[in-house]
């Protein structure tokens, strides 16, 4: 259909390659899609995407018992209640702690391992890569029982450390593969030049490689944070004490109550979403570049 239009515009048939009257425009191909083919499906999909978000905002902001479809009169009662009475303040602190600690541990450990994989040939490298790939298929959910026993042995049940370790371990394989791909994209000669200038390996890495890794590290780090912020099962299993629990567990408690307080649930949901939304607003640009640079195909 598009080519028909193009043919009409240019008198010569489109397959005559040497037609001098045919304007040569870079990327013209992308500009020719009719607008309605973009905006119509996009709008339909956006309705599906956004209604649920609107719904939860509505419930969080309108007074209990209201059936209005606009959150007016607006109230913040649900937020106050869920933050203090339902201990979401405490859950929030715990979740932040778990998220930040997982981010730091994952990034550091994956950076070290990723550097080794990208820059050295060593004897167990193949086996190690294979282990990384295979462990992607090992579901954390299916290892709950043995993990519980390990943490019980280590006296770490009811300590946030258990969740941090478990989250980090299951983030590591993919993070390390991604980071090693990012590092491979940085020419080795840059590092070598820095050595010639008298840097040791660590300084050269810090000054030359690290700044170039920024988009990749941001993608990997935010992944680790968001995953551990969102993840539910480990916290549910390893933390029995209410003062140690995280936000997803708190949400589940609200949902599984006998009579669900919908306003509180919605407000709790918004509290759960805010940090993630902020993280993504900041990193969106880096995310696509980070992904396409590190491409999942290794």
């Amino acid at each position: 259909m598009i080519t028909k239009e193009a043919t009409k515009a240019a008198p010569a048939p489109a397959h005559v390659t040497a037609d001098p009257t045919r304007p040569l425009k870079a990327g013209r191909n992308w500009d020719e899609v009719p607008r309605r083919h973009i905006y119509l499906p996009l709008s339909i999909y956006l309705v599906f995407t956004l209604i649920p978000f609107y719904w939860i905002l509505l419930f969080a902001l309108r007074p209990a018992g209201s059936t209005s479809l606009v959150p007016w009169p607006m109230t913040f009662d649900h937020f106050e209640k869920v933050w203090t009475d339902r201990s979401f303040g405490t859950y929030f602190q715990n979740s932040v702690l778990v998220g930040v600690a997982t981010l730091l541990m994952t990034t550091l450990v994956a950076l070290a391992g990723g550097y080794a994989l990208a820059r050295f040939d060593f004897r167990v490298k193949k086996a190690f890569m294979l282990a990384l790939l295979c462990s992607q298929f090992v579901p954390g959910a299916l290892l709950l029982v043995p993990l519980f026993e390990i943490f019980a042995e280590l006296k770490m049940i009811n300590s946030l450390g258990s969740v941090i370790i478990a989250e980090t371990v299951f983030q590591l394989p993919l993070s390390m593969i991604l980071i090693s791909n990012f590092i491979k994209n940085v020419p080795y000669s840059l590092e070598e030049a820095a050595w010639v200038d008298g840097c040791n390996r660590l300084t050269a890495f810090r000054i030359v490689v690290l700044p170039l890794l920024r988009p990749g590290l941001i993608a990997v780090g935010s992944f680790a944070f968001v995953h551990s912020w969102n993840h539910f099962l480990f916290a549910l299993m390893f933390l029995n004490n209410q003062s140690k629990q995280t936000i997803p567990v708190g949400l589940n408690t609200l949902m599984s109550a006998d009579s669900v307080d919908l306003g509180a649930l919605a407000a709790g949901g918004i509290i759960a979403a805010v940090p993630v939304v902020i993280v993504f607003a900041f990193i969106q640009k880096w995310l696509i570049t980070g992904f396409s640079a590190g491409a999942v195909k290794g």
Partner: protein, 311 residues
């Protein structure tokens, strides 16, 4: 002979020499933290699952604990209809979810890859549910599906459907209801990965195709899709494994109900170990799940001849 080869070989190139100025142990030191963590918290638990699968092991019934041989497996395959039900449901869940997510994700990626006014905002909004957790997705859809205050009430106000419908507690509606909730969060995953891969399609190919008079549909089939092939295969596989394993959403949205209608194998395993404390049997089921995952992954990679066309 060996000597000759040694002589013929030039001395290690300067690049290697320089690298080895740092201790030879360095790469091992660098992977040590990751290796130790993975040995302790992935490899060891996996091995212990296989060990326990051959045991009677129930902390609440210690007098029965001990070696069980293949009893757990025999019980699962011959004497446990729930196991088969959950296995069937898992398969249905994974195929439907991954298929629809791939389809919609691909379409979305193609759309937001075009140049249009408001593209940045459009992308941000389309991708946004991806960051939302399984539990929060459940919370949102619990609000939407609620029979008193949910979307059905307003639909009923407009004359569509009837009042008091609760899609999550009716065995005939719970499956599509859960599928839609998970689609809402899952489609952006494919859209993001496919969009990332679309960035690397050379524009020249499309120009050449257009010069040759290839229609847009033909361009899609002959340029875009082959280029995306590897990314699609890999993300489909990762997603299928993920959908199979992930219990967050169904655990909190339906709890596997009503009447066990939406219990996947991992959910059944979790219930068997957490509620029934039957760790031995749960381990046997886990071992079965591992084998199934491994088998399906291998078949899938073989069938799709993953990366087979390169070099």
């Amino acid at each position: 002979m060996a000597q000759a080869a040694a002589v013929a070989k030039p001395p290690a190139p300067p690049r290697r020499r320089r690298a080895s100025a740092t201790p030879r142990r360095l790469p091992y030191l660098l992977i040590a933290p990751a290796a130790l963590l993975m040995l302790g918290f992935i490899a060891y638990p996996v091995i212990s699952v296989f060990y326990y699968s051959l045991q009677n092991y129930n902390p609440t019934k210690p007098w029965r604990n001990g070696f069980a041989g293949f009893d757990n497996f025999v019980h699962a395959f011959t004497d446990d209809p729930v196991f088969w039900d959950t296995l069937t449901f898992s398969a249905k869940w994974v195929v439907v979810e991954v298929g629809l997510q791939l389809l919609f994700g691909l379409a979305l990626a193609l759309i937001v890859n075009q140049t249009f006014v408001g593209r940045g905002l459009g992308r941000a909004m389309v991708f946004s549910p991806w960051a939302v957790s399984g539990v929060l997705t459940s919370a949102i859809w619990v609000l939407l599906y609620n029979s008193q205050t949910g979307i059905t009430r307003y639909l009923a106000d407009m004359g569509i459907g009837s009042y008091g419908t609760s899609w999550l507690s009716d065995t005939s509606t719970v499956f599509p209801a859960a599928v839609v909730a998970d689609l809402w969060r899952g489609v952006p995953f494919f859209a993001i990965l496919i969009l990332a891969d679309l960035q690397s399609v050379s524009k020249d190919l499309y120009e050449a195709a257009e010069v040759d008079g290839a229609s847009r549909v033909k361009q899609f089939w002959h340029i875009t899709l082959p280029h995306l092939k590897d990314a699609i295969i890999l993300s489909t596989l990762l997603r299928a494994v993920w959908e199979f394993n992930n219990v967050d959403l169904l655990y909190t949205l339906t709890g596997g109900g009503p009447a066990g209608e939406t219990t996947t194998l991992p959910l059944y395993i979790a219930n068997t170990s957490v509620d029934a404390h039957n760790f031995g049997y749960a381990s046997a089921l886990t071992a079965v799940a591992f084998v199934i995952l491994l088998f399906c992954s291998m078949v899938y990679l073989r069938l799709s001849k993953f990366g087979g066309t390169d070099k």
